[in-house]
């Protein structure tokens, strides 16, 4: 095994640990920012971790009559997100599993997690589970094509759908960041992040009100360590998507080699970028209300249009 390979595996393991450890902290930071902006004291940024520890100590109660689908869903969700966290270019553009860091593979993995959770929601046979699953699939069906289109606009000029290649390509010619294609794609991608991770105005992560909840309705039947897995995976998906957005559109700081120093710089840069993006998202959420479910397709159609414009603009405006 060459030194290059060892370094790449170390980088990959590093970003895995960073995402797993940092995801609940990111959620904590976002809640704290929101609480501060609203004039509340807030629970501190460590609260999501404390919640997870509490949940892990509890028994996982499963509803009567639910099948293995219900049991497996949190694991599938967690595992698919872990794979993305390991292969996507967060710290270094050199990855031991380069082939898996493909745009289509990453979107498919995201979809796998969404579908497994929706199936689990249906499996319980309760009204809430089915309702949450149907809403989640409506949103997923509209937002997945947008994610593909938005990143496709960036990959068209690199000539590869490999995420690491896209990031490296943007890094070598930073002028591209101010091109209309990447600005439009950035808007589309931001909307998709909001829709995929169930943030305002699409879904309210802090509610248990029957009319408004989407993600919460699906996971209502989970308890104990199953719930901990779902919560951790949800936080990780947010972190992974924000990290992808940060590195695709603002790739500065990411290591193009596997030198320890470059990796350390990349780590700090990633934490800062994701932290700032998350805090920005939290501040944005303070000022808006949740939209009616029927207006959500409008928002997603707009973001699809931005993605499509980004692709066509990247062809006609060179």
């Amino acid at each position: 095994m060459s030194a290059q390979m060892v370094g790449a595996v170390a980088a990959s393991a590093g970003q895995l640990v960073l995402v797993v450890g940092g995801a609940p902290l990111l959620v904590g930071v976002m809640r704290q920012v929101r609480a501060t902006a609203e004039g509340r004291a807030g629970a501190g940024i460590g609260q999501p971790w404390r919640d997870l520890r509490k949940l892990l100590g509890k028994e996982a109660i499963r509803p009567e009559g639910s099948s293995w689908v219900f049991t497996a869903a949190p694991l599938v969700l967690l595992a698919s997100t872990l794979v993305i966290a390991a292969v996507a270019p967060f710290l270094s553009t050199i990855s031991p599993a380069d082939g898996a860091a493909d745009l289509f593979a990453v979107v498919a993995l995201l979809m796998l997690g969404t579908v497994s959770l929706a199936l689990a929601g249906l499996d319980t046979g309760t009204a809430f589970g089915g309702m949450g699953a149907s809403r989640e699939m409506t949103i997923a069906a509209l937002s997945e094509p947008t994610i593909l289109l938005a990143v496709f606009a960036l990959s068209a000029r690199v000539g590869s759908s490999n995420l690491a290649d896209i990031v490296a390509g943007t890094l070598t010619s930073p002028a591209r960041i101010l091109s209309p294609a990447s600005l439009l794609a950035a808007i589309a991608f931001a909307v998709v992040i909001i829709a995929e991770t169930g943030r305002l105005p699409v879904d309210n992560p802090a509610t248990h009100l029957e009319l408004t909840m989407i993600h919460e309705a699906m996971v209502l039947e989970y308890a104990g360590r199953d719930l901990a897995a779902v919560e951790l995976a949800a936080a990780m998906r947010l972190t992974v998507l924000l990290g992808l957005g940060a590195n695709l559109f603002l790739p500065w700081g990411i290591a193009t080699s596997v030198e320890p120093l470059a990796l350390l710089v990349a780590l700090v840069a990633l934490v800062v970028k994701v932290g700032v993006l998350g805090a920005g998202l939290a501040v944005f959420e303070v000022f808006i209300a949740k939209w009616r479910l029927f207006r959500v397709p409008e928002l997603l159609a707009a973001s699809f249009l931005f993605g499509l414009l980004a692709v066509s603009v990247s062809f006609f405006l060179a």
Partner: protein, 219 residues
């Protein structure tokens, strides 16, 4: 100014023009759409100024100043006045719902790209390659014209259409002669003023500016 910087600025401005046109399909409040028109007017003036800086032409600078005054100050002011007087015209009330019109906008943009390909191939350069943006804005303006009910929304469609034509003219020929530009601008101003009077009359007669009410006149 180097070629690379010029191309980058040109692409950015054209992207901005397209973005403002699309966003005006998305927003419902007329006041927000008028703000988008102001932004688009400023972008058009920047486009003219950018081309002027490249060609070292005073005429284009004058055209840029004219565009700025007319499209970013005078016309939006007229629109705001109509909006304030009418009071009721808060919503754009499209005949086609917003989601469908956004998808239609996507198709229209692709169509603009398709039909302008032969034109671009005639003389490929950075400015002509941006031509589809101008055509797309023209088509989006048409779309707004045919799918909106209120008189004021239709004026906005008309202005989008005109902005698209101006963009196309600047990109295709580096600006039409100043006399023609002045004539067109005056025409647009007159049309908007006439439409303003028309909207005021409609409101006096029907109490609102829904164009469907005009059916009554035929009987």
């Amino acid at each position: 100014m180097t070629e690379a910087v010029f191309v980058q600025l040109l692409d950015l401005i054209c992207g901005g023009v397209l973005l403002t046109a699309v966003l005006s399909l998305w927003r419902r409040e007329l006041a927000a759409i008028v703000r988008l028109l102001v932004a688009q007017g400023i972008l058009l003036a920047l486009l003219a100024a950018l081309l002027g800086a490249r060609e070292h032409s005073t005429e284009l600078y004058v055209a840029a100043a004219g565009v700025l005054v007319l499209k970013a100050i005078v016309l939006p002011a007229v629109l705001r006045r109509v909006l304030r007087d009418s009071g009721e015209a808060r919503e754009a009330e499209p005949l086609v719902n917003v989601t469908t019109s956004l998808l239609a906008a996507a198709l229209l943009t692709l169509l603009a790209y398709g039909i302008s390909r032969p034109l671009v191939l005639l003389a490929p350069s950075a400015t002509t390659r941006a031509l589809p943006v101008g055509l797309a804005v023209v088509l989006l303006g048409f779309f707004v014209l045919v799918t909106r009910r209120r008189a004021l929304s239709q004026v906005i469609g008309f202005l989008l259409l005109d902005n698209g034509i101006t963009t196309t003219a600047f990109l295709a020929t580096a600006g039409v002669p100043l006399v023609v530009e002045l004539g067109v601008s005056l025409d647009v101003l007159l049309v908007v003023l006439v439409l303003q009077v028309l909207a005021a009359r409609m409101r006096l007669t029907f109490g609102r500016t829904d164009l469907d009410e005009l059916r009554e006149l035929r009987d």
